[in-house]
C-alpha cells in the first residue's frame, strides 16, 4: 500500500494546529494537564502502518521537531527523538504482521505509552522534572494514551479512504 505523502504532511500540519488551538478548549478544566493527545503522533503511526518504516521515521522526526519548536521552553528535541524512534519501531512491527485494525489498536496504545515515557525520562535526565514515574504514568501517560486510542479509531476510516492509495498488485481496495 502507498500513501499520498503530500496530503499526509498537509493533514499532519493541520492536526498540529488543531492540537495546539482547539484541543485545549475541548478538554474539561480539571483535566487540562492530564489529557494531552498528540495528533501528529497518531498520524505518524498511520504512516508507519500504511507506508513503511523509513517514511514513518522521517515524518515522525520532522513533526516531532516542529512540535518541540512550537512548545520551546526548556528543550528542543524530546518529541523529535521519541516520535522518530517510535515511528520506525511501529513501521518495523507493522511490516512483519498484517496490518489490521486490531493490531493497529495495540500499536497506538503501546506507542502512546512509550512516547510519553520517553519524554518523561528525557526531562528527568535533564532534571527538569522531579516527579516519580509511577505518578506521571497514572496522572498523565495512561489517560492520554487511552484518549489517543479513541482519536485514532475515529481517524482510521477517513485516513484509509482519503490518504491511502489502493495498491494494484494485491487488489486490496479501499474499504467498502
Amino acid at each position: 500500500m502507498k500513501m499520498r505523502i503530500n496530503w499526509v504532511i498537509l493533514c499532519a500540519l493541520t492536526l498540529l494546529v488543531i492540537e495546539n488551538s482547539v484541543i485545549p478548549w475541548l478538554v474539561p478544566p480539571g483535566w487540562s494537564d492530564r489529557l494531552l493527545p498528540h495528533l501528529c503522533f497518531i498520524m505518524t503511526l498511520f504512516v508507519a502502518g500504511f507506508a513503511g518504516r523509513h517514511t514513518a521515521f522521517l515524518i515522525g522526526l520532522g513533526l516531532g521537531l516542529l512540535q518541540d519548536l512550537l512548545a520551546y521552553g526548556h528543550l528542543i528535541g524530546p518529541y523529535g527523538f521519541g516520535m522518530g524512534l517510535i515511528g520506525y519501531l511501529a513501521g518495523l512491527t507493522a511490516e512483519r504482521k498484517s496490518f489490521t485494525i486490531g493490531f493497529f489498536v495495540w500499536i497506538v496504545l503501546i506507542g502512546g505509552l512509550m512516547l510519553d515515557s520517553i519524554i518523561y525520562f528525557i526531562y528527568k535526565l535533564f532534571r527538569l522534572t522531579d516527579l516519580q514515574f509511577a505518578q506521571v504514568f497514572y496522572w498523565q501517560v495512561a489517560p492520554t494514551a487511552i484518549l489517543q486510542l479513541f482519536i485514532a479509531l475515529l481517524l482510521y476510516v477517513p485516513v484509509r479512504r482519503f490518504l491511502v492509495k489502493p495498491s494494484h498488485s494485491s487488489g486490496d481496495d479501499s474499504p467498502e
Partner: protein
C-alpha cells in the same frame, strides 16, 4: 573486542546510538537558551498566526457555553459585585488623597524623574493564540512579539492575577512560561519574590511543587507568620519584576525545611487553563546616563 565490532555491524543499533548522541547534544545545546535564530522565529510566528485564527473563535464559543452553565450564579455574583463597588468608591476617595500627598512629598524630596515613574507600569493587552500538548513545558503563546516591545522576563498577568513570565520572544508572537513551571530547586525558572498584602516587610519566594501540584511561597521569615486568607502579591524586590501583582491567597502554612522559615501553600488567583486574554506588564526603563 570482536563483540564490539559485531555490535557495530548491526546497522540499526549503530544508527540509533548516533541518533541518541545527536539528540542529547541538541537538547543540551538548546537548554537554557534565550535567543532564537530566525528560522525558529519564522516557524513560530507562522504557526502562531494560524493558531490564533482558530484558538480565539473556538475559545469564544467554548466560553459562551460555559457562561450558559453559570447563568444561575449571576444573581449572587451581581450582589457581591455591588458590595465591592461600594467599597471601591470609598477606597477611591482615600486613594486620591494619598496619591496627591505622595506626589507633593516626592516633589519636596526632589525625587528624580525615574524614581517618580518607577511604579507607572504600562500594560500591553495580548491575545492568547495557543497552548502546547507537552506536559513538561507549561507554556502558552501570545500574539505580541518584539515588534510590540515585548522582552524576555516580563511579567504576564490576567485580570485575576499573575500568570507567568515571557520566556521566548519572536517577532510577532512570544511564549509565556506559566507560574506553575517556576521551580528554583531544579535547573530552570526565575525566582519571583513575593510579599503579603498589608505586611510590607514580609518576604518569600514563589515556587511550584510538581508533586503536590500546589503553588507555594517559601523562605518566609519567622516573624511574618502567614495567616490563612492573607493575600500574596509580588514584592518587586530585585527590580526586574513589577510589584503589586496578585498571586493568590494563603490556603495553609507550615514550618519550612529547617524549622527557621515558614512555607505557605497558595491558592492561585489566576486560572492557568483556558486563558484568552492576558496583560504584559512593562516596567519603565532606566535611562542609561
Amino acid at each position: 573486542m570482536s563483540g564490539i565490532f559485531r555490535l557495530m555491524r548491526n546497522k540499526r543499533l549503530f544508527i540509533l546510538m548516533i541518533g541518541l548522541i545527536l539528540f542529547i547534544a541538541l537538547m543540551g545545546f538548546t537548554l537554557g537558551r534565550t535567543r532564537l535564530t530566525w528560522p525558529e522565529k519564522f516557524i513560530n510566528d507562522a504557526f502562531g498566526t494560524v493558531q490564533g485564527a482558530l484558538y480565539r473563535p473556538v475559545g469564544a464559543v467554548a466560553d459562551f457555553f460555559r457562561d450558559l452553565d453559570r447563568l444561575s450564579d449571576v444573581y449572587k455574583e451581581n450582589e457581591q459585585l455591588r458590595q465591592t463597588v461600594a467599597q471601591y468608591t470609598q477606597d477611591q476617595i482615600k486613594f486620591n488623597l494619598l496619591e496627591a500627598d505622595n506626589k507633593r512629598l516626592q516633589e519636596e524630596l526632589n525625587f528624580t524623574e525615574h524614581q517618580k515613574n518607577m511604579d507607572n507600569y504600562r500594560y500591553l493587552i495580548a491575545q492568547v493564540v495557543g497552548s502546547t500538548s507537552n506536559p513538561y513545558e507549561k507554556t502558552i503563546t501570545i500574539n505580541l512579539g518584539s515588534r510590540d516591545g515585548v522582552k524576555p522576563q516580563m511579567a504576564v498577568r490576567s485580570v485575576d492575577g499573575l500568570v507567568g513570565l515571557v520566556s521566548k520572544v519572536k517577532n510577532f508572537t512570544s511564549t509565556v512560561t506559566l507560574v506553575t513551571d517556576l521551580d528554583p530547586n531544579s535547573s530552570r525558572g526565575t525566582p519571583v519574590s513575593a510579599t503579603f498584602l498589608g505586611k510590607p516587610d514580609s518576604f518569600g519566594i514563589i515556587e511550584y511543587d510538581d508533586e503536590t501540584g500546589t503553588l507555594q511561597m517559601t523562605k518566609i521569615d519567622e516573624r511574618d507568620k502567614p495567616d490563612v486568607g492573607d493575600k500574596v502579591i509580588t514584592s518587586g524586590l530585585g527590580s526586574l519584576f513589577p510589584k503589586g501583582i496578585i498571586v493568590g491567597t494563603v490556603k495553609s502554612s507550615q514550618v519550612g525545611d529547617f524549622g527557621l522559615t515558614y512555607t505557605a501553600i497558595i491558592e492561585p488567583a489566576a486560572k492557568f487553563d483556558h486563558l484568552r486574554e492576558v496583560f504584559i506588564v512593562v516596567v519603565p526603563e532606566v535611562e542609561e546616563p
